[in-house]
């Protein structure tokens, strides 16, 4: 197992190098000069020159890349152009915010969606199935940011039930933290529920068609037992894979939600940095996301045989 994990991570190295070149290149393609934006309205060519030199922007692109990549290899992600604070620290502060929103939303979605999907698949083509599928399809058709906007308008401004801005970490104050999470999580969870329900329904249907289920039924095993002993364990594993994909995807999708609810997460850090051409932050965050993605998918692949006895690594 460890050998497999190691192999996975080693094989991710070329991907990481490529991703780093891509993000570096992408940022330089975008018009706008970080030094110019740093200085703002003060019109002094000498100050601009000095700032560009300080940021290393006067060097050839290849040198700039090597300097940055070299730093990354030594564990030094550089400092933010805008605030002068270390990139690693900014990411460390922002990531938990995003992670909590995403993990809570996904966990809630999984709690609802996996049973719902299994029931729908189990009772395929029944009324229950049709209802569940319809609700899921409807949920899938509501954009998260639209939900966010309506939540802010009604729960926030009109009925004044929930705070519209602010953030408290659940680790500092569980109750207050939870309250600030309610709206962002609702906005994210609807789509997640839809995707997961459909996925778990599909894999349930697939498992139901397999011989051993038919066999178990033929032996006169009760429907409930068939479901618990044979269908659930086998339908769960593929859903888990999707869960991993979704988690990775959510890291990107959460950007708009963070913006709307003023959450100091990774997405907002990234968007703000793109607008300010804060190269170090954008590059750092992207590489961080790639690493998270690789690790997440490796972990899920490792978990796969635990849940699905048919698979051996």
């Amino acid at each position: 197992m460890w050998a497999y994990a190691l192999k996975r991570i080693v094989s991710a190295i070329p991907t990481m190098i490529l991703a780093s070149v891509m993000v570096f290149g992408l940022m330089r393609l975008i018009p706008g000069d970080p030094a110019m934006l740093f200085i703002g309205e003060i019109d002094d060519p000498a100050v601009l020159e000095a700032k560009r030199r300080e940021l290393g922007l006067d060097q050839p692109l290849v040198m700039q890349y090597l300097n940055w990549a070299g730093g990354m290899l030594r564990g030094d992600m550089g400092v933010s152009v805008q605030t002068g604070r270390p990139v690693a620290g900014e990411i460390a502060a922002a990531f938990p915010v995003t992670a909590i929103v995403v993990v809570v939303a996904t966990a809630l979605a999984a709690l609802v969606a996996i049973p719902a999907g299994i029931v729908a698949g189990w009772k395929q083509n029944s009324k229950t199935d049709a209802t569940i599928v319809s609700i899921a399809t409807l949920c899938l058709s509501i954009p998260g940011f639209w939900t966010a906007l309506l939540l802010l308008t009604f729960l926030g401004a009109k009925w004044k039930l929930l705070p519209t801005v602010g953030y408290v970490s659940v680790f500092d104050d569980a109750r207050a933290g939870a309250i600030y999470l309610i709206m962002p999580v609702i906005a994210l969870v609807l789509t997640e529920v839809a995707v997961l329900t459909r996925m778990s329904r599909a894999s349930t249907i697939e498992v139901m068609g397999l011989e051993y289920v038919t066999h178990a039924r033929a032996k006169g095993m009760g429907e409930r037992r068939v479901l618990w002993r044979h269908v659930f364990p086998n339908a769960f594993a593929p859903t888990l894979t999707v869960l991993g994909l979704i988690l990775g995807h959510l890291l990107g999708g959460v950007v708009v939600i963070e913006q709307m609810f003023s959450l100091p997460g990774l997405g907002r850090l990234m968007v703000g940095a793109i607008f300010a051409r804060d190269y170090a932050i954008v590059q750092g965050v992207l590489i961080f996301i790639v690493v998270i993605y690789v690790v997440l998918n490796t972990v899920i692949d490792l978990l796969y045989p635990v849940f699905d006895p048919r698979v051996k690594l």
Binding site: G84, R85, A94, G156, K160, T164, V168, P264
Partner: protein, 516 residues
């Protein structure tokens, strides 16, 4: 469900927002976090807005944008106009309790002017383009300090009061052993409190603050403070910020969108304050462009734009149409400066015919960041369409537009210039030769000459004549089309008393009280 939520919300409110009993706190929105506490070194508009509550300069702008007293209660100018002697405000103490002395002023200024500090405006005081050059700074006694310039210069105090480059006076202990600013031990009515990056900055009242004995006037005058603490809340999204104001989660929302004014005014418990500003909204036309180098086409564009209608629409009737660089608030202002080429679609069509305009699309750059730019651009596009000029709107992010502006790489663009305290400075933003700088727009040699003269002359009447001439030349050249001076509005919760807008529209939380 509703009940539970309300209970939860109240619980959160209690846990979060309420400071000790009876304490007065006000929360206001700001679009981005502060960059640092290093004023004048690593700053942006948000940073300035916050730090002006903590750090004071010797002098500051008044409501009418003239220079008034702040940490210096008064000053004398010598006969030869080279020496300025400032007297430190009586009773002024630093946040650590130490009295402010002339020696501290001298130390603070020498720190700012030293190369290793990285003060962005060092050149403003060390022989930059305006020629201000500080030669010596002497502490005359406990409270008097004398600045001596190489040459007399009328703009010295204007620069010293400048909002962007806060020339703050701080205690030497503010600087750590590495020579870098480690904390702010300054003289303002608030001290730095909690700062949660990306979330909020809190300021606490400095209880030993002794205000100036003069009424509150812009950034100058009394800064007597009643609030115990102030929270600047980072809210990047404008819709979210407005929702927060309506929900009562923030008390003050600066830079309210003009279209939202009616709604906020109608909302129970909220009000709007609006003030005219000397900012200048303009359409810039690149006269080196193959199509637009023809003055007739530029003039046709100018004739096609109904600046009265545009202003009424873009600012909800609150802005002041203004084709000239002279703001309504300026002492030089008069009806003469209200006249541009004039709205005349027929004339525009005639000029286009004469120039042989073939319907080629003109790219009009604007951005999604500043509502006035965007709405002006949309209105201009619609107006130009009426006379047969096709424009393609290019909505960039601000950084891209700024780069295009700085490099002069555009056909047409809508821009808003921040307030300039002197007409020469406003003309200077757009008038220069293109060899001198790439972002010069109007480069008519006679115009350049006239603007230069307007800055040098010390005689008001003579300057007024130069301004008139410059205005006429600029209108005829039609590379810079003045649109309006915007009004700025702020949404305020009724529990906040004494919060006023002023032409520089930076928040001021001294003199403000908060009810329950």
């Amino acid at each position: 469900m509703k009940k539970t939520l309300r209970y939860l919300a109240t619980a959160a409110g209690l846990a979060m927002l309420v400071a000790p009993a009876g304490a007065q706190q006000v929360t206001l929105a700001m679009p981005g976090d502060i960059r640092s506490i290093d004023f004048g070194v690593n700053r942006d508009g948000n940073t300035d807005n916050v730090l002006h509550h903590v750090v004071e300069a010797l002098v500051a702008y008044r409501d009418d944008l003239s220079v008034g007293p702040q940490l210096a209660e008064s000053w004398d100018v010598s006969e030869d106009r080279r020496s300025y002697t400032f007297t430190v405000r009586k009773g002024a103490v630093f946040h650590n309790g130490q009295p402010v002395t002339a020696a501290d002023v001298k130390w603070s200024w020498e720190r700012l002017l030293a190369d290793e500090t990285g003060f962005l405006c060092q050149k403003w005081f060390k022989g930059g383009s305006l020629g201000i050059d500080i030669q010596t700074i002497e502490a005359l006694d406990e409270r008097r300090v004398r600045f001596t310039l190489a040459e007399p210069n009328g703009l010295f105090l204007v620069r010293m009061a400048h909002k962007v480059c806060l020339t703050g006076i701080i205690h030497p202990d503010s600087v750590g052993p590495d020579g870098k600013l480690a904390q702010l031990i300054a003289t303002g009515p608030f001290t730095m409190g909690r700062h949660e990056a990306g979330q909020f900055v809190e300021l606490n009242r400095f209880t030993d603050y002794v205000p100036l004995d003069a009424p509150k006037d812009g950034y100058a005058g009394s800064r007597e403070t009643f609030l115990d603490s102030v929270r600047f809340m980072v809210i990047a999204d404008t819709a979210a910020a407005k929702t927060a104001l309506l929900a009562g989660d923030i008390d003050i929302l600066p830079r309210l969108d003009p279209n939202a004014i009616a709604e906020i005014e109608a909302a129970e418990g909220l009000g709007v304050k609006t003030v005219a500003t000397p900012e200048w909204q303009v359409a810039l036309i690149q006269n080196t462009d193959p199509l637009l180098k023809d003055r007739r086409i530029r003039q046709a564009i100018s004739h096609a734009i109904d600046i009265k209608g545009l202003t009424a629409g873009a600012t909800n009737g609150l802005g002041q149409p203004n084709p000239s660089a002279i703001a309504g608030a300026s002492a030089f202002f008069g009806p003469f400066f209200q006249e541009g080429l004039g709205y005349d679609p027929e004339k525009a069509k005639a000029l286009l015919g004469e120039a042989g305009y073939d319907g080629r699309a003109i790219k009009l750059i604007t951005n999604g960041t500043y509502p006035f730019d965007n709405i002006s651009a949309i209105a201009i596009q619609s107006m130009l369409q009426q006379v047969g000029i096709t424009t393609e709107l290019v909505v960039m992010d601000w950084a891209s537009q700024y780069a295009a502006y700085k490099e002069g790489k555009f056909q047409m663009m809508v821009m808003g210039f921040s307030a300039r305290t002197d007409p020469t400075l406003m003309f200077d933003v757009v008038v220069d030769s293109k060899e001198n700088r790439a972002n010069a727009i109007a480069d008519d040699p006679e115009l350049i000459e006239t603007v230069k003269k307007s800055g040098v002359s010390g005689d008001e009447a003579e300057r007024a004549l130069e301004f008139k001439k410059a205005h006429q030349l600029m209108v005829q050249d039609a590379s810079v089309i003045g649109l309006f001076n915007p009004a700025r509005s702020v949404g305020v919760n009724d529990r906040v008393e004494g919060y006023e807008e002023w032409p520089l529209e930076s928040p001021r939380l001294w003199g403000v009280r908060a009810g329950g």
